[in-house]
């Protein structure tokens, strides 16, 4: 399913020529506006060469209809940026980078990126999308001292160096770094993309360099902001979508000003993609997002109140949802999820307690507790046998997957586990049969969880049983997410339960940051991650961990995708061998509720944040209703 691609030789070409079809059916939703002259006909709204996404396996659809979705919080509407997935360059379903908003990207030596815009492409308010929008972002925002006191976003730096930005002509811009920057294009293609462009024609009115001081003060006061920076930021949130007036390049534009209980997104009349017949996408006119409490969302989905829903539905809702299919006029698809593990245990190698810290850093201990988990039992008892019992590593659908990564130290083997613990010297036991630590305390591990669902506690209580057989007593303590994080960071929590690798389906050209200590949020080595992130504290002295850091750095300098794949494999090998995290169960399926008449939604697919952008990668603009009114 997935194929590698060559980022350094990447030539992303647009595949479409301007539609030669003279007889394009107008969009009924916009017909009135076109008739009264407030909107141009379709050909004039489209760029000269529109983007033509692949319709392989898909039908050509028809216009009309509305998709209803549910979210729990008003700020969840930002997910429409992921779902719409309009990107300068974006991944297709084979995880290959393709130009989308851009016509083409030329890359030289992996460090000079020339972006070619689509001439004639317009913002949702009809203003042309040009190099000026990039210049405005770079010169007046990313490197403006007031707006970005910390300099441009990290994704725009390579080896901490800023790029040289040039405007070549109205439709061409260039970013060049001194060293290769393999992070640049993936950042543009992310579910929360790096926006390196701004609707300059709109945002200039909120910028001190372009607006008169009096007018700016007035606008700032109107918006209840302290200074013009606050005003600028609040008006220009391309990700959060809180300003309905902000021009956009997304397929659907928010028309509701928050706060609200219901958000209506309407089609962008200038959207740049067309179907194989040259008809402008999206097919669906409106997306309606209603807010409901998380607990009610499965119930509402089951009564047919949605046309497309995955968020807040879990596998344990499956039977209930399936039951309502007839009455609710929907079907339930099960999609694969993309996390390395649904739940994983993280031994905190930066634990405060020296005795535990030493133990957690001992590979024999980590292997022992991993082998003492009966993954098959968890799968059968909690997940109807629909999940996979494997370690926390990349998933089988990933091209980098090898079965030895999944099975390493993950077969249920109490005897071997006991032997390893004996080897460490933990031979004394108390009356309960619980092993004693060197200082005589019983081996009781408090596993802290975010406590958001009963799923975690169900799984962990099964682990608790099997751990008893190797003389380890587990206690589970659910807390709040923030509290959990702080306890892990401070080293107070010796073990925590969280989900596995954020990206379980990487390809070699995606950064392997998640395999090395690069972030404080990695619960097995928060302090080492913090060191990488901020330079504060101390780095790891464990050779295996140091190698991971070296490998991660080497990836950024790699000159070919083969080399990157090698680095990935070595990192996966180290993880499999060292069991830095203990995956309990993987490949848990995601129920997707889909209106029966909604077409072009794959039956089997994967549902993942990054890469994937949830529905984004499946081209939501091509979804349509079979019997649209």
């Amino acid at each position: 399913m997935f194929q590698n691609f060559l980022p350094y030789l990447l030539l992303i070409a647009s595949c479409a020529v301007s539609p030669a079809f003279a007889q394009l059916k107008p969009v009924p939703f916009l017909a009135d506006q076109v008739a009264n002259g407030s909107l141009q006909p379709m050909q004039e709204r489209l760029p000269y060469s529109p983007a033509k996404p692949s319709f392989f396996d898909k039908e050509v659809g028809q216009y009309g209809g509305k998709i209803r979705m549910l979210m729990a919080k008003a700020k969840d509407i930002r997910l429409m940026v992921a779902f719409g997935y309009s990107r300068l360059v974006g991944y297709d379903e084979q995880l290959q980078l393709k130009a989308d908003i851009l016509k083409q990207v030329d890359i030289e030596e992996g460090r000079i990126f020339t972006l070619h815009l689509r001439p004639g492409l317009r913002w949702s308010d009809g203003a042309p999308f040009t190099a000026e929008d990039f210049r405005f972002y770079w010169e007046d925002m990313a490197t403006n001292e007031t707006l970005s006191p910390f300099g441009p976003s990290k994704d725009l730096l390579s080896q901490k160096e800023k790029p040289v930005f040039e405007v070549i002509d109205e439709y061409t811009v260039r970013y060049s770094w001194a060293s290769p920057n393999p992070y640049f294009l993936p950042a543009l293609a992310g579910p929360r993309p790096l926006f390196i462009y701004m609707p300059a024609h709109y945002m200039k009115q909120f910028h001190a360099d372009y607006q008169s001081a009096e007018k700016l003060t007035l606008l700032t006061e109107e918006a209840h902001k302290r200074n013009w920076r606050g005003l600028f930021v609040s008006k220009g949130r391309q990700y959060k979508l809180t300003n309905p007036d902000l021009p956009s390049l997304q397929p659907w534009i928010n028309t509701t000003r928050p706060p609200a209980e219901r958000f209506i997104f309407k089609r962008n009349p200038y959207f740049h993609r067309v179907d194989p017949n040259g008809q402008q996408l999206p097919y669906i006119d409106e997306i309606e997002i209603n807010l409901a409490s998380t607990g009610l969302i499965p119930a509402k989905a089951g009564s047919g109140d949605v046309d497309l829903q995955a968020r807040y539905l879990r596998l344990d809702n499956y039977t209930f949802l399936k039951e309502g299919e007839e009455n609710g006029n929907y079907k339930v698809n099960l999609w694969e999820t993309g996390r390395g593990a649904q739940i994983a245990l993280y031994p905190n190698m930066n634990a405060k307690d020296p005795q535990w810290r030493q133990l957690m850093q001992d590979v024999r201990f980590r292997r022992a507790i991993s082998m003492a988990v009966d993954r098959n039992e968890i799968n059968q008892v909690v997940y109807f046998g629909l999940a996979k019992d494997m370690a926390n590593t990349v998933l089988p659908s990933c091209p980098l997957f090898k079965s030895e990564y999944a099975t390493a130290w993950s077969d249920f083997n109490v005897e071997a586990a006991n032997q390893l613990l004996d080897e460490i010297g933990l031979t004394k036991r108390d009356a309960r049969g619980i092993r004693l630590l060197p200082d005589g305390k019983p081996m009781e591990i408090l596993v802290q969880t975010a406590g958001e669902s009963t799923e975690e506690t169900d799984v962990l209580s099964l682990v608790e049983d099997s751990w008893k057989r190797i003389g380890v007593q587990m206690y589970v303590k659910p807390t709040q997410r923030e509290v959990l994080r702080n306890r892990v960071f401070s080293g107070e929590a010796i073990m925590s339960a969280w989900y596995g690798l954020p990206n379980g389906v990487p390809v070699a050209s995606m950064s392997p940051w998640q395999m090395a200590p690069t972030k404080q949020d990695q619960y097995q080595w928060p302090q080492w991650g913090r060191y990488y992130e901020t330079g504060k504290g101390k780095p790891s002295t464990m050779p295996e961990v140091q190698e991971l850091v070296t490998l991660n750095n080497a990836w950024g300098m790699a000159s070919s995708v083969e080399e990157q794949a090698q680095i990935w494999n070595r990192m996966l090998e180290i993880h499999a061998d060292q069991v830095f995290s203990i995956g309990l169960v993987s490949g848990v399926l995601q129920p997707i509720v889909v209106n029966k008449n909604l077409m072009n939604i794959p039956e089997n697919a994967f549902y993942n944040w990054d890469p994937g952008a949830y529905f984004g990668i499946h081209n939501m603009t091509g979804f349509f209703y079979k019997d649209a009114e």
């Binding site: 700020k75 606050g230 209980e261 409490s293 509290v483 702080n486 954020p502």
Partner: protein, 332 residues
């Protein structure tokens, strides 16, 4: 009387100040701040955020300042009518709460009405026919309402309403009416949804009210003036309503103090379960995410209403019941 009122007003100021300090401290008690819970939430969904940006935001929101300074900023703004800024919504608090207020008031108003309509007749009947079968069975019904967990009752009724009447689950209105102007159809949709929360919240309040009314009324009914009245040939109904009922209403008037804030806050848990667009769920979410100005301003608002409510009930009590003296301890 005037002097008393003035004194009461003056006492309200330090009371509210103390409350405001307490509210602020309690909201800040859990570890971390809004930004931390925000990062945690993003992270649980796979998103991440630049730590530098967090530092920047912390500075921008003033979260890096000492607590007392944050408190001062908030409370001085509050006095000037600025309720602060909600981090979660990126909007001033007043705007966040604004729209929800009306629906909350509607729900609470009907709830209180229903509570009274059920509790008063039953209370009066029970008091006049004490220890009878009808007394027992009616109070049993009241107790059932009190004993059933509200959220459970709410869920069951949601299910039944959806199953048998096709009412959409949760909310106060069918989605298609949400941005429309008020019309008959919209009103009907509201009424169709309204009865569930009203009944659920109402039933839990009735039992207490029935008991208190019954107890107070029974006390009064035994007093000599009732016997005198009866012996002088006063009709039973008139006798009941004119004196004992009036006097047994003290508790009811004293309740106004807590009635005012409950109109605004509604019943949070039920509102969350039923996903009502009222203010209760906002308060709860704000407390969870440590959106401190939103939570703080809301709690302060409730506190102010309580203080005012108590004042009103004090005044009303003094007017209705001459036995109550305003000077309290000073008389001794």
């Amino acid at each position: 009387m005037l002097k008393y009122l003035l004194k009461r007003f003056l006492v309200m100021i330090p009371t509210l100040l103390v409350i405001s300090a307490l509210v602020f401290i309690i909201i800040q008690l859990p570890p971390g701040d809004y930004l931390e819970s925000h990062i945690a939430e993003l992270e649980s969904q796979g998103e991440s955020i630049d730590p530098q940006k967090i530092e920047f935001l912390r500075h921008e929101y003033g979260l890096d300042k000492p607590l007392w300074e944050q408190y001062l900023v908030w409370i001085t703004g509050f006095v000037q009518g600025d309720l602060g800024y909600s981090f979660e919504y990126n909007l001033p608090v007043a705007e966040v709460i604004g729209d929800k207020m009306w629906l909350t008031i509607i729900v609470s108003f009907f709830t209180i009405l229903v509570t009274w309509l059920i509790a008063f007749p039953i209370g009066m009947y029970s008091a006049t026919h004490p220890y009878s079968w009808s007394d027992y069975s009616l109070t049993l019904v009241g107790f059932l309402g009190l004993a059933t967990p509200n959220f459970l009752l709410a869920l069951v009724m949601l299910y039944l309403a959806n199953r048998y009447f096709g009412t959409s689950i949760g909310g106060l209105i069918d989605p298609e009416f949400m941005d429309q102007d008020w019309s008959w159809a919209k009103l009907k949709s509201v009424l169709e949804h309204l009865w569930i929360p009203v009944l659920v919240i109402g039933t839990s309040g009735t039992a207490g009210m029935i008991r208190r009314l019954r107890a107070n009324l029974m006390d009064e009914l035994r007093k000599p003036y009732v016997v005198t009245g009866r012996s002088k040939g006063l009709g039973e109904t008139r006798l009941l309503i004119k004196y004992p009922l009036r006097l047994s209403m003290n508790f009811f008037i004293a309740d106004i103090g807590s009635l005012l804030p409950s109109i605004i806050s509604g019943a949070e848990v039920v509102a969350v379960v039923l996903s009502l667009p009222t203010t209760g769920p906002i308060l709860l979410a704000a407390l969870q995410s440590q959106d401190m100005y939103l939570a703080g301003s809301f709690l302060m608002f409730l506190a102010a209403l309580t203080v005012v409510g108590v004042l009103i009930s004090d005044i009303l009590l003094a007017m209705i019941d001459p036995r109550i003296r305003l000077q309290g301890g000073a008389q001794r």
